[in-house]
Symmetry: none
Amino acid sequence: MKADMPLNRILRGECVEVMKTLPDASVNCVFADPPYNLQLRGELRRPDESVVDGVDDDWDKFTGYEAYDEFTRAWLGEARRLLHKDGTIWVIGSYHNIFRLGAIMQDLGFWILNDIIWRKSNPMPNFRGRRFTNAHETLIWAARGPESKYRFNYQAMKALNEDLQMRSDWYLPLCTGNERLKNDHGLKLHPTQKPESLLHRTLLAATVEDDVVLDPFCGTGTTPAVAKKLGRRYLAIERHPDYIKAAEARLERVEVLPADQLEITPAKREMPRIPFGSFVENGSLPAGTVVYDRQKRLKARVSPDGTLVSGQHRGSIHKLGALLTNAASCNGWTFWYFERDGQFLSIDTLRQETHLLRRTA
Amino acid sequence: MKADMPLNRILRGECVEVMKTLPDASVNCVFADPPYNLQLRGELRRPDESVVDGVDDDWDKFTGYEAYDEFTRAWLGEARRLLHKDGTIWVIGSYHNIFRLGAIMQDLGFWILNDIIWRKSNPMPNFRGRRFTNAHETLIWAARGPESKYRFNYQAMKALNEDLQMRSDWYLPLCTGNERLKNDHGLKLHPTQKPESLLHRTLLAATVEDDVVLDPFCGTGTTPAVAKKLGRRYLAIERHPDYIKAAEARLERVEVLPADQLEITPAKREMPRIPFGSFVENGSLPAGTVVYDRQKRLKARVSPDGTLVSGQHRGSIHKLGALLTNAASCNGWTFWYFERDGQFLSIDTLRQETHLLRRTA
DNA sequence: AGAAGTTATGAATCCTCTC
DNA sequence: GGAGAGGATTCATAACTTC
């Protein structure tokens, strides 16, 4: 790296202005969590009447898509100039901004390697029931250009995923609990602090020891903290003095992992769960099929949304089984049967077959 | 729909040209799986397969993106014109094209409701180990505009997912096996045939019976096939006669679910409204009855006009519940309880019983 | 001490009809 | 079109409190 290059520091200022002071091709990897341009309108309450603390900070306010695009082109252009020819960049966003980010990255000459889905294990629900639960964010991973000889630690990623190739969908929890930095009032210090697990995986995938990692939107310092922990060098930019102060205190507490301990904690595995509705969707138990209890004393019909209907009653396989037998509860999987090729089979057969397929796949 | 509107047909031709012949606001929902052959070949081709000329350099990425964007703006613009003001559109793509699609949709005035991740249970592995396994595709679900009163069958989606809110990440298998259409040589007929399960979920979420669904890139007819099965009307556009032939033969084999089997879990909003006062009038909850909150910490008395009175306060079941709990709002139906035959029941029980009676009547 | 119950909260473009 | 009223709507997790 250049002699005049500040390293392992958080620089205060506007990210574009500060980046302009840095030399070409001086960083190996960029991680950027830019403003999302959320455009929230009114107040939102949970069903229990509590108010959702949305992102209403000034830094997320833009006059429109054009202003957002202009800002995006400016910082991405500088980031590309700072990136070594074989370097890569990670950018995270949601549907509000990720499409603009991705298109502008392509226009600027970045070469997209993957889009990665961060599936949240504990997302905020959709309280008004008007959309699907927004349960993920998207990361774009791109090389500086199509000819870049970029770094990808394939075996490390495979090891992280129980010796299976790491896929483009990652299942990780939000940053909550003690990991989440708090202010003096015990409230979250930053509205969008990212979990260290996310940075751990991105940096471990795309960098080697002593690489320089740049974060133009440092916030409370998750990127520098994980970079330091993993024995990478860092450079971060942040406008707000309070965030810089918190990030610097946080960095003080981070211990660098000894080289021989730079190994991997396996990711938490998601429990496979198969909704009954999936068999309706995939046609193995189509809507309209009649199902029975084992003695064929009761029957019900399968609806397109995976509920069962019997007379005036509608409900899940479990609820309808309980209702029709006056039981407090019922395991619908083993209660209901259907006919296939002359055989009378429990619907749990379908689930068992699916588990078998997944294990052999 | 307009009298001159062809329905339940596959129209042959270029999608933009054909769409231009159709009237404004004539479809309720669009599902589009556009081509994304951006730079996958040595020679540069437009999405309509014509070769881009006028490029002296070996390779010009900007021309490639520009041609793709031009085509995208054209068909999305027509799709938006054809969409009813409260209609929604689904567009599917991968990281090659989804960012351009999404940004152009926003520029044209579409209002994104969700981005949905189709997680593939059986993706193709990454053979060279140079990237993460590309294990998903992205769908964008958008309303025609921010003010659209769009359709979302929330309860049906929740039922499909074991009574939990449906999330933005969907786990579905690829279209394989008998579902995959083959040509005379036993090879796959179409390179990107989508699974019916994917269309089942999208159409069930965003349409009602008899809605008109448009697919501008029909291919082998998955969209019309599922639309027909679910009792929706369709309109599809396709260039290749071979695909049209296969799709028409496929549609012949599809059976429409009978109307009584098409019903899904109803939304409470759509149930006929019953005034609380009607229970006072018909004597099932006479004036003078005392009602309580669930913990029996509050109580109020029913007036002959269906208002509740508590101390100095009088108001509707909702207003009084909100007032006494200092809440911004309150659903009185589930807030207030009464006693009947020794049981402590929510007043919503009365409403549910009435709904049930009306259905059997 | 440990089990069981309660509370708080997360990048959110989050209602609809009638007058 | 604006105002007001009716009334529909939540999941996972961690920390804290109570027994």
